[in-house]
């Protein structure tokens, strides 16, 4: 796809027997968080949950997981959304539900801006339209204390191998509950070079707010109150900009919404059906 090989996986059939018919079920494409993580975490909760009633397509974005690593100058929201569009076109997926989580929401939002007619519904878990680092740093301080605040500031302002190590040490367990942190750190194939690169480049300039009004698809936003990487004030910017949106609030939930607030999965299933 656009010169790279993308890994995708599928769970649940699209056509299922129902009496004398094959009933067509919706297709949900899951765009993973990160930057630099992969699709695997979703196979432990929301993916199998939705596969009961929908066909779930997992994808590893370019540079991530089992997809080609490609090169840093293509690690940006423009090429990730192009890849997604190309892949779905190649395998004949028409008007899917696109589900983005965290960082994946940047890709999902950009996809829906560029190809508004090709999305039937959008589901966004803790979406931001831009990364307001001062807000994020402040939130890391409120939820994780001075050390987390300092490490977040250092990483966002001077992204490097050293600063990301400190960031992961001091901030990851603020983003997700400590009980899940080890598994979420160890199970994906991480590309930390991509995380550093994106934080140093596109994260500083990306602003998807102007195009939000072009998104036609009905959208469900899951808004967690305690995700320092995606602060409530930034989630509110997305909600304000979307033409057709409903919101579910999850007080106390962090970045790991599906683990922290499992009731969010039923809300998505109902919205997708």
């Amino acid at each position: 796809m656009n010169g790279v090989r993308l890994f995708f996986d599928i769970q649940g059939a699209q056509l299922r027997p129902e009496g004398p018919w094959l009933a067509e079920h919706p297709i949900v494409v899951i765009v993973h968080t990160g930057p630099g993580s992969d699709h695997t975490a979703y196979k432990e909760h929301i993916g199998p949950y939705l596969a009961d009633t929908a066909q779930v397509v997992y994808i590893d974005l370019r540079g991530c997981g089992l997809s080609d690593r490609s090169t840093p100058e293509t690690w940006n929201v423009e090429s990730w959304s192009s890849d997604l569009h190309g892949l779905l076109e190649q395998i004949g997926v028409e008007r899917p539900v696109v589900l983005g989580a965290g960082f994946g929401c940047y890709v999902a939002l950009r996809y829906a801006q560029r190809w508004p007619a090709d999305v039937s519904k959008l589901v966004l878990s803790n979406p931001n339209a831009r990364a307001v680092t001062e807000r994020m740093i402040e939130r890391y301080g409120e939820l994780g204390g001075a050390k987390a605040e300092a490490s977040a500031r250092e990483f966002f302002e001077r992204p490097s191998e050293t600063s990301i190590a400190a960031f992961l040490r001091d901030c990851f367990t603020v983003m997700v509950p400590p009980v899940y942190a080890a598994r979420l750190m160890l199970m994906p194939i991480w590309n930390l070079e991509l995380a550093i690169h994106w934080t140093a480049t596109e994260m500083k300039t990306l602003d998807l707010r102007p195009g939000l009004g072009a998104i036609e698809a009905p959208t469900l936003v899951l808004a967690a109150s305690h995700d320092p990487q995606y602060p409530p004030a930034s989630i509110a910017e997305v909600i304000d900009g979307l033409p057709d949106v409903c919101v579910e609030h999850y007080p106390g939930a962090r970045h790991s919404v599906f683990r922290d607030a499992p009731e969010s999965m039923a809300a998505i299933a109902e919205f997708v059906a």
Partner: protein
């Protein structure tokens, strides 16, 4: 889902993920591609029983062959085993499915056999349900005669001797109900998108000259072959002849009493054995292994 392969678009569906989590790592499961009977039927035949069961051990890929179901119709000149097996090759290449197990029943088993003899390194194993190396119409006529009486034998003989829409209609009414011991679920029939032209064309054209006895000697992967003793269409005698033509050390032959066409409906245990074959038999073979399949003789 659909994907462009050569001059056609092929419909496919998928059930069960390829990569699944275990306690502390990600595990890759085998892929099994289901090749449907026909020609003129479609993948939906596998949706109620076979696919869901196998999805517990493998990633299941359903495929509508060219001419059938939701795939491009193409034309009668391209409804043949060479084209279907090349379509399959193109399909696997496009999705980068490297070495799947192929499960086929009836014509689907012939596509699997043709593919595995042309591209021996691209199949990890074959599961063949109701398969023969060639059609000997007299064998089939005798079985219809035995199972349904002289009239059934006559109707079959008329259709084989002169395949037309009219003789096919009689055959469907009189002979199809004799295919399985348990009656076919009418919902399963209703779910198919049928292309009767494809069936008649097959009987008229390729079925008459089909002979895979030599080609199947080139197959290098393990084969699990099921034959129903009461299958009037793909007869036991035909399956025995196929088993004799397949490479000896690789083939497991199961003849099933009181089972008809597409044995799984009459003998559900065969599906369990299939699941185990896919789980064990398609695992990557160690270097230097002579190819004998663990667990089957």
């Amino acid at each position: 889902m659909k994907i462009a392969v050569g001059d056609v678009e092929l419909f496919f569906d998928v059930e069960g993920p390829k990569v699944v989590p275990s306690e502390d790592e990600w595990v890759e499961r085998p892929t099994v591609v289901l090749l449907h009977a026909g020609p003129g039927a479609d993948h939906s035949l596998y949706k109620d029983l076979v696919g869901p069961r196998l999805a517990s051990v493998a990633q299941v890929v359903y495929l509508d062959q060219r001419g059938d179901g939701r795939s491009s119709r193409s034309d009668a000149a391209h409804w043949n085993l060479d084209t279907w097996s090349d379509d399959l090759r193109g399909f696997l290449d496009a999705l980068e499915i490297e070495r799947p197990v192929l499960l086929g029943s009836a014509i689907g088993s012939l596509v699997a056999l043709t593919f595995a003899s042309r591209y021996p390194d691209r199949a990890a194993g074959l599961v063949l349900v109701s398969a023969v190396a060639r059609y000997v119409h007299q064998r089939s006529v005798s079985e219809f005669d035995r199972l349904g009486g002289a009239h059934a034998g006559e109707v079959a003989a008329r259709y084989f001797g002169d395949p037309t829409e009219a003789t096919f209609a009689d055959y469907m009414n009189v002979c199809l109900p004799l295919y399985t011991r348990r009656p076919l679920d009418p919902d399963v029939i209703a779910r198919m998108r049928i292309n009767p032209e494809g069936t008649v064309n097959w009987t008229r054209a390729e079925a008459a000259k089909l002979d895979l006895r030599e080609a199947v000697g080139r197959i290098t992967c393990p084969v699990l072959l099921f034959a129903g003793e009461d299958d009037p269409s793909f007869t036991l005698a035909g399956a025995e002849e196929l088993a004799d033509s397949l490479p000896a050390g690789l083939t497991t032959f199961r003849r099933i009493p009181a089972a008809g066409h597409g044995v799984f409906r009459d003998a559900p245990w065969a599906l369990d054995e299939t699941a185990e074959f896919i789980r064990v038999g398609s695992s990557v073979r160690p270097e230097g292994d002579d190819g004998a399949l663990v667990g089957f003789s």
